[in-house]
Structure formats: structure tokens, C-alpha cells
């Protein structure tokens, strides 16, 4: 079985919001109607987004690290948001594991958003239905696009390549390898929702050098230090003579 998902590398993400804007651009102009904004250029602008980049500070000054944290629906393998939906508008696709909302069936009761611990769903105030990341389901299968572009808009937009996309059930896919080899983890594992999306941790790149590695101890005849000067009647350390 296929389970499409994103893997987001927090070590690479610079918090530029390119994924946010490209997601908004693609999904507001798609077949499913706009992702409404209110007052976009006035005071108090607000609207619906599938994806938000948040920023956290870890540690205390001066020992701090900034973590940029893109957040969208994690397409959980045990999605708690699906069974609670009274209309069946929320569903998980058998064929690729994408969790979707049927905007024509949704009654906007918001119950599913209560049942998502990640706050991944937002009610569209214009259409009055629940919205969330679709993994660009209207683009990843579009055969009129070149093969390389059949990926979610956010993945294509990311300038640092922090977002990987693929099948996390295929052990040899790029995403599975990344999760396996770079410590990929799931958010809030305590709830047993089994998010399909994974995150790769922040890793400080450090050069570890021990003090004794700074002093050359291997060849006493090389440049540093004073070369030994044994007396003439004694053999030298190597085949050369020091006098």
C-alpha cells in the first residue's frame, strides 16, 4: 500500500515561507475554489492556509537555536479526524493514504478540527467548509505536467530543498531513506495517530578536534621542534645523518 507524505528537514529550513506562498497560490487558483482571504491589504488581514511556517526558540540566550517549523496536515495513518466526521466528507484515500475533505459534502461543523491534535485544519470563512492540505492531489497525478513537476507546490518551491515528497511505505524511496538514515521522527507520537509526514531533526554541524590532534606527535624529524642531534659515534634515528 502506498502512503504519500512529506519529509521536512528542519536542519535545512530557513523559514523563508516560500512553501506557504506557493501552496496558497496553487490552492487558491485550483478547481476546488479559492482559499479565501479577508482584508488582505487592509488592517487585520486573515485567511485560510494549508501550510504555515512557525518559528521557535530553543534554549536561553546566549545559548539559543532557532527552529523554523513548517506545519501542515500530516496525513496520519490512523487519522482521528476521519471517523468523527458525521457526513463522510473527511476521508482517507485507500490508494495513496492522502486525507481529504470533500468540500461539497462538508457541513462546516468543525468537529474534525477538534479531533486533530495538530491544528492542521482550518475552516474557510468564505466557503464555510473545512480545509486542509491535499498534498496537491490535483497536481501530483496531472499527466499534462512534466514528470518532475508532479510534486506538491511546496516541495517545488522550497529553495533549500528542505521538503521531500514520496511514498513512506516504500523502504527504498527517497523519503524512507531520509527518515531511516537521518533520524526522521513523527510529531506528538503519544497520541498514536501515526503521522505519515516526518521531520528530520536540527543537527549542529560540529568539527570535533581533540587538543592532542593539534600537536603533531607522529614524526619528530619533521619541521616542528628541534631535530635530534646525537653524537657522531652513535647511530642516527633514521638513515639520514644530522651532522
Amino acid at each position: 500500500m502506498t502512503q504519500l507524505a512529506l519529509v521536512i528537514d528542519l536542519n535545512v529550513c530557513v523559514g523563508c515561507h516560500a512553501c506557504v506562498t506557493s501552496c496558497k497560490e496553487w490552492n487558491t487558483s485550483g478547481w476546488a475554489g479559492p482559499l479565501a482571504d479577508f482584508n488582505p491589504y487592509g488592517p487585520d488581514p486573515h485567511g485560510t492556509f494549508f501550510n504555515r511556517v512557525q518559528t521557535f526558540e530553543v534554549g536561553e540566550y546566549p545559548n539559543t537555536m532557532v527552529v523554523h517549523f513548517p506545519k501542515s496536515c500530516l496525513h496520519c495513518e490512523e487519522p482521528p479526524c476521519v471517523p468523527v466526521c458525521p457526513t463522510g466528507a473527511s476521508y482517507k484515500r485507500e490508494e495513496d493514504g492522502i486525507v481529504l475533505v470533500d468540500y461539497d459534502k462538508c457541513i462546516g461543523c468543525k468537529y474534525c478540527s477538534w479531533a486533530c491534535p495538530y491544528g492542521a485544519r482550518e475552516l474557510d470563512e468564505h466557503q464555510k467548509v473545512m480545509k486542509k492540505c491535499t498534498l496537491c492531489v490535483d497536481r501530483i497525478y496531472d499527466e499534462s505536467l512534466p514528470e518532475a513537476e508532479r510534486r506538491p507546490a511546496c516541495v517545488l518551491a522550497c529553495p533549500t530543498n528542505a521538503r521531500l515528497f514520496g511514498d513512506v511505505h516504500d523502504p527504498d524511496s527517497e523519503v524512507s531513506v531520509a527518515i531511516r538514515e537521518q533520524g526522521g521522527y513523527a510529531l506528538m507520537p503519544e497520541w498514536g495517530t501515526k503521522p505519515a509526514n516526518h521531520y528530520l531533526p536540527r543537527r549542529r554541524t560540529e568539527l570535533r578536534i581533540r587538543p592532542d590532534e593539534l600537536i603533531r606527535a607522529d614524526n619528530p624529524l619533521k619541521k616542528e621542534g628541534v631535530p635530534p642531534k646525537p653524537p657522531k659515534d652513535q647511530p642516527t634515528l633514521d638513515e639520514t645523518t644530522s651532522w
Binding site: 515561507h17 462538508c106 457541513i107
Partner: protein
């Protein structure tokens, strides 16, 4: 959670309607067992059922304001196999219909016994429909409670106490209304209703205080560490990724100060439990039609506050991601 008035009204109003029906039907059963005199209650039962239906329909009406797309509400009966909300949507109209049928049977006087069990227990149509309605009423209480109790992320709600509170508080307010109503129209076993109203109110106080006690000691299961997957005791959000307000800021935060919350708690503890019990007790001594009516009015106002508090009390794990608008 943000307390939504449509849902507060829905749950309190249908609770009253369900409780009022249970009160009426219980008194019919008592009269049948000759534990209560059986005067001419027919008209009273019919009127009382009409009032119960009124409360249920008002609640149903209020619920539509909660929906973004009320015109599609019929679709919500589809997933009764998995969704408690869907089950409630099916049960509520069923309860309305059964209670209305029960009232109609009394109103039209179709209460000639259909058959007599062992020569002692005359069974009429109202008894049968009433029994069905009672089952439906309890199923509806459970469905309404489980809507909240089944969301495991809201740990303040995810407890059997939630369901007991819905049953007992709904029942208490219904019996109080039955006492007020029968005192008002001057027929019906007012004292019987009053006594049960006090019993249910005290039982409700026990379960509600138990849930307050439980919730005050609940440690959140999710932390910022598990939310973003960084192991460090000091993590602070710098920005939630949006300058404007979002759905997540509105739906999951109540925005009230701790002082307001505490004030609401004290108000509902007095108005739902202490004051109605005191008023119903006084009503035993002074037989005024106003005192039970006042008891119901105070208790209902208290229940609105109680439900508000119920929402404000619940802390959603998603709030960890929405700490800092910047």
C-alpha cells in the same frame, strides 16, 4: 476551547426537554404502580410533552447556527457507524417525534388499555411509546455526552464523567421544570417532581465536582517538546507563522481571564446546585407557584454558565502551536 453559544444552547435546551419528558413519564409509571394518586393527569401530560418538544426543537434550531452549511445538515446522518455526532443527529429528531407522539396520545385520550398484564397492569399506547421514547432519550444523552467524551485529545472531556454529567444535569433541569410547570398549571405531582429534582441535582453536583477535581489535576499529555520534536526544557514560540488571527486562534481559545473563569465556576456551582436545591426546599413549605419557577430559571442560567465553563476548561493540544501572534 472557545465556547460556542449555539452548542451551549443546544446541549442545555435538549437536556431540559429530555429531562422534562423523563419526569412526566416517571410520574406516569409511579401512578401506574399506585405510588402516586392518579388524578386527571392526561391534560397535564399532554401539555408537559408539548413543552418538552418545544425545548427539544429550540435546541435543534440553535444547533443549526453552529454549522457553516446548515442547508446540508441532512448529510450528517451518514456516518452513524463511527461518529457520535452523526448518532446525535439521528437521535434528536427521533426523540422529538416519540415525545410528540407520547403527548399526542395523552392529548387525544387514546389511553384505553390495549391489554392487561396479569390482571393488574393495564398497558396503553402511551406506556409503550413512552418506553420507546425513554430509551431514545437515554441514547441521546449518551450520544451528546460522547461527542465530547470521545475526543481523546481533550482530556478534560475524555472521561465517563462527561456522559454522567450530561444525563444528571439534563435530568435535574427537566425535573425542576416539571415541578415549576405542574405548580404553575396547578395539576400534576409537584412534590414528586421537586423531590426528584433535588435528588438529581445533588447527584449531578457529585459528578460535576468530581470532574472539576479530576480536571484540576490533569497534566497535559503533549508538550512543546513532543509538538515540534526537540528535546530541550526551554522552548518558546517566536511566531505562529501568521500576523493575523487564524481559525486556530479563534476556535480553540476562550480568551477569558483566569478571574472570569473562576467567577463563572462559582456562579454555576451556586446557580445549578445550591440555589435551586434551596428554592425547591422552600417550595415544600410555602406553596407558591413562583418559587419552583424561579428555581428552574436560576438552574437554567446556571447550566448555560456550566456549559460555557465546560468548553473553557478544555485545553486542546493544538494550542501549543499557537502561542505567539507575530
Amino acid at each position: 476551547m472557545h465556547p460556542a453559544f449555539s452548542v451551549i444552547l443546544l446541549t442545555t435546551l435538549i437536556g431540559v426537554g429530555q429531562g422534562l419528558f423523563l419526569a412526566i413519564y416517571t410520574s406516569q409509571l409511579y401512578a401506574l404502580a399506585r405510588l402516586l394518586p392518579m388524578p386527571d393527569h392526561q391534560r397535564f401530560f399532554a401539555l408537559g410533552s408539548a413543552v418538552a418538544v418545544g425545548f427539544l426543537v429550540l435546541g435543534l434550531f440553535a444547533s443549526f447556527f453552529h454549522l457553516g452549511r446548515p442547508e446540508r445538515a441532512w448529510r450528517s446522518a451518514a456516518r452513524w457507524r463511527t461518529s457520535w455526532l452523526s448518532r446525535e443527529v439521528i437521535l434528536l429528531p427521533l426523540v422529538v417525534m416519540l415525545v410528540a407522539a407520547y403527548g399526542l396520545i395523552h392529548g387525544l385520550g387514546w389511553t384505553r388499555p390495549l391489554f392487561v398484564i396479569r390482571g393488574a397492569l393495564p398497558v396503553d399506547a402511551s406506556l409503550l411509546v413512552g418506553a420507546l421514547a425513554t430509551v431514545a432519550v437515554f441514547a441521546l444523552f449518551v450520544a451528546t455526552g460522547m461527542i465530547y467524551a470521545s475526543i481523546r485529545f481533550l482530556r478534560e472531556w475524555a472521561s465517563p464523567l462527561t456522559v454522567f454529567n450530561f444525563i444528571l444535569l439534563g435530568g435535574a433541569s427537566g425535573f425542576t421544570l416539571a415541578a415549576a410547570f405542574s405548580a404553575w398549571v396547578g395539576s400534576g405531582p409537584t412534590r414528586f417532581y421537586g423531590t426528584w429534582a433535588v435528588i438529581l441535582t445533588v447527584a449531578g453536583a457529585v459528578t460535576r465536582l468530581a470532574s472539576l477535581y479530576r480536571n484540576a489535576r490533569l497534566a497535559p499529555k503533549s508538550t512543546l517538546q513532543s509538538a515540534i520534536g526537540v528535546r530541550h526544557p526551554r522552548i518558546r514560540q517566536i511566531t505562529q507563522g501568521a500576523m493575523g488571527r487564524t481559525f486556530n486562534n479563534r476556535e480553540f481559545f476562550h480568551g477569558a481571564s483566569p478571574r472570569t473563569i473562576a467567577a463563572v465556576r462559582w456562579f454555576f456551582l451556586l446557580a445549578v446546585f445550591a440555589i435551586p436545591v434551596a428554592l425547591l426546599a422552600t417550595a415544600y413549605v410555602l406553596s407558591s407557584v413562583w418559587i419552583p419557577a424561579a428555581a428552574f430559571a436560576v438552574q437554567y442560567a446556571g447550566l448555560v454558565a456550566e456549559r460555557w465553563y465546560f468548553f473553557a476548561d478544555a485545553r486542546h493540544p493544538q494550542n501549543l502551536y499557537y502561542q505567539q501572534v507575530a
